[in-house]
């Protein structure tokens, strides 16, 4: 009888073991490279390329719409003085940010107040603008197109101007079945922006199995980045290294630009700005919402030192105690997020 009980227990354990063996999560086999989509010939599909950009039902992607959006993106005729295009502040060579400029110049040389963010993988962002107050690309584009300091266009003026250009009149008719309007302009630009995809950095290649893709320093930086010591990964999380959330990074004690509070009016939102993507971050200097930090190393140092005290500072920010060598390693890791094929992809550059 006793033996029989042991036998049953043994059988149960064996069964549980077999079940666990089959159900236990295990590493997925390496992703088989598939032919890249037409717009991204320069970027082989690896790891994060498996992600699909979300597309709203009311603005399906079509090649003709993306091409129209690309032409509009690079066209300064979309601005009041005919001098400022989307690409004036979102330059492909700087991962679609405004290389070197703390804030961008809009029409008639007017200065904005915030740093033009990179558009790398912008189609994945859940909130847009520095305070994250626009829910999707179609609506975001209305901002720069109509803002007094940026492109300064009235909807009617834009519709009239583009409608008078035969190539645009034809293209809008083909894509939207109608003459250009501010709305269709923003829809076409959004469609193009959803093709701004970058997933071929040394880090991506390392993730896909190329052990030599990253330097030793960058690998040490990677370890630090994802460790509690470096503590970068809580906010810079996921395939694009951003949680898309507004946070106060203790940049100032008193904020001239109050960030999210400008939209919500809440004291606790003062100084909160969205966590930016770190993809191609080495190309997008200067940094922070106002472009006040010139180099990547200085940004890492800002976090290493714990920033400036203020009531809304994110709880995660504290002095990190990183050595100079560790700061260098983190910078090397951040540099390994640079995708040269993104900035030179002919499908994303100005149309000929």
């Amino acid at each position: 009888m006793r033996r029989g009980l042991l036998g049953w227990v043994g059988l149960l354990l064996l069964g549980a073991g077999l079940l666990a063996f089959y159900l236990w999560p295990r590493p997925k086999p390496a992703v088989q490279a598939e032919p890249p989509p037409a717009a991204h010939q320069a970027s082989p599909r690896i790891l994060f390329a498996e992600r699909t950009v979300p597309v709203p039902d009311d603005n399906p992607q079509t090649p003709a719409k993306v091409e129209l959006g690309r032409r509009l993106f690079y066209d300064p005729r979309l601005s009041k003085d005919g001098q400022v295009a989307c690409a004036s502040c979102h330059k492909p060579e700087f991962a679609f940010s405004d290389g070197g400029k703390p804030v961008s110049a809009g029409i008639f040389g007017r200065k904005g107040s915030r740093n033009a963010p990179s558009l790398t993988n912008v189609g994945f962002r859940r909130h847009l603008f520095w305070e994250g107050r626009s829910p999707r690309l179609e609506l975001q584009a209305v901002g720069p197109l109509t803002a007094h300091d940026e492109m300064g266009m009235e909807p009617e003026e834009l519709a009239q101007r583009l409608g008078a250009i035969p190539e645009y009149a034809r293209a809008f008719q083909e894509v939207f079945g109608d003459a250009p309007t501010l709305k269709t302009v923003t829809y076409a630009i959004a469609a193009f922006e959803r093709t701004l995809l970058s997933y071929n950095s040394p880090f991506d290649r390392y993730q896909a199995g190329d052990d030599k893709a990253m330097s030793q320093a960058a690998l040490r930086g990677l370890e630090l980045f994802f460790s509690e010591k470096g503590d970068c990964f809580h906010c810079h999380v996921g395939p694009d290294f951003t949680d898309d959330e507004p946070r106060n990074t203790a940049l100032y004690t008193v904020y001239k630009d109050i960030g999210l509070a400008r939209a919500t009016g809440k004291d606790e939102d003062v100084g909160k700005f969205k966590t930016p993507t770190l993809r191609n971050v080495a190309l997008t200097a200067p940094y922070m919402h106002d472009g006040s930090i010139k180099t990547l190393r200085d940004v890492v140092q800002h976090y290493n030192q714990g920033g400036q005290p203020n009531l809304n500072a994110d709880a995660l920010i504290r002095p990190l105690g990183l050595t100079d060598a560790e700061v260098d390693d983190l910078v090397a890791f951040l540099q390994s997020l640079t995708d040269q094929s993104f900035t030179s992809n002919p499908a994303l550059l100005p149309p000929r």
Binding site: R136, I258, R262, G265
Partner: protein
């Protein structure tokens, strides 16, 4: 029975809807506003008006007993440099003929419409209205723009009032006395309002006013920290900027 029949036409006349137009006269003080004409604020700053656009919604006519005839719909009143400023029809409605003790409405977009996806809305909402605030889902309710004639040269200024907190309630009604009388004959007619645009430049508590010599005050936007106090001043005065035309 005969008495009923004689009353019937009167009853029908009262119950049938009469077409009514809501018209607006733009004023600067008690004078008709003219685009491009130079005016002066109480503080002596010279200015011109270039554009005025605002949403008008939640309109209701107030019956003598206080009950309301509510009018559905939302309109965008749009005044431009090359357009008229007096007796401009901004809304058409059908209401029962009769006597009313007033009209009320809001300048702005009802909250339930203000935060829908602007990409899916049709005019007068939607992004083509020129009233959509991309950085903060919602609309500009009251958009006034012009030039300040400053010693150093002309400078453009804008007042863009929006966000739910700044929807402007206008209440032109009087149930206690007979001062407000709106008569809608069976054939219909018009209700004409005066809007004193210059109210925006009246000083607020402590004498605060929109001083265009300060660059930061040339763009009053929603809840911007430098300008929220002055936006509140403008908002306060806007609540009494409308009146019934005599």
């Amino acid at each position: 029975m005969k008495g009923w029949l004689t009353l019937l036409p009167l009853f029908l006349a009262g119950a049938l809807a009469a077409p009514v137009e809501l018209k607006i006269n733009l004023r600067i003080g008690d004078q008709p506003l003219r685009f491009g004409q130079t005016y002066q604020t109480p503080q002596g700053q010279r200015y011109q008006i270039e554009m005025l656009k605002f949403y008008l919604s939640e309109v209701a006519l107030v019956r003598p007993d206080g009950r309301e005839v509510r009018i559905d719909g939302l309109v965008l009143a749009d005044f431009r440099r090359d357009g008229p400023t007096q007796g401009v029809s901004v809304m058409k409605m059908d209401v029962p003929a009769g006597q009313y003790r007033g009209i009320r409405f809001n300048v702005g977009v009802p909250r339930e419409l203000n935060h829908l996806d602007a990409g899916t809305q049709q005019m007068p909402l939607g992004v083509n209205s020129g009233m959509y605030w991309a950085w903060n889902p919602g609309y500009i309710f009251y958009r006034l723009e012009g030039l300040a004639l400053l010693p150093e040269g002309n400078q453009k200024w804008v007042i863009h009032m929006g966000t739910d907190a700044f929807r402007i309630p206008v209440r032109l009604q009087d149930l206690q006395t007979r001062r407000v009388q709106i008569n809608i004959p069976p054939a219909g007619g018009a209700i004409t309002l005066n809007l004193d645009v210059a109210r925006a430049f009246q000083p607020g508590p402590g004498g605060a006013y929109v001083d265009w010599r300060q660059q930061s005050l040339r763009q009053l936007h929603g809840l911007s920290p430098e300008t929220s106090l002055l936006m509140s001043v403008v908002y306060y005065h806007m609540q009494s900027a409308f009146s019934l035309a005599q």
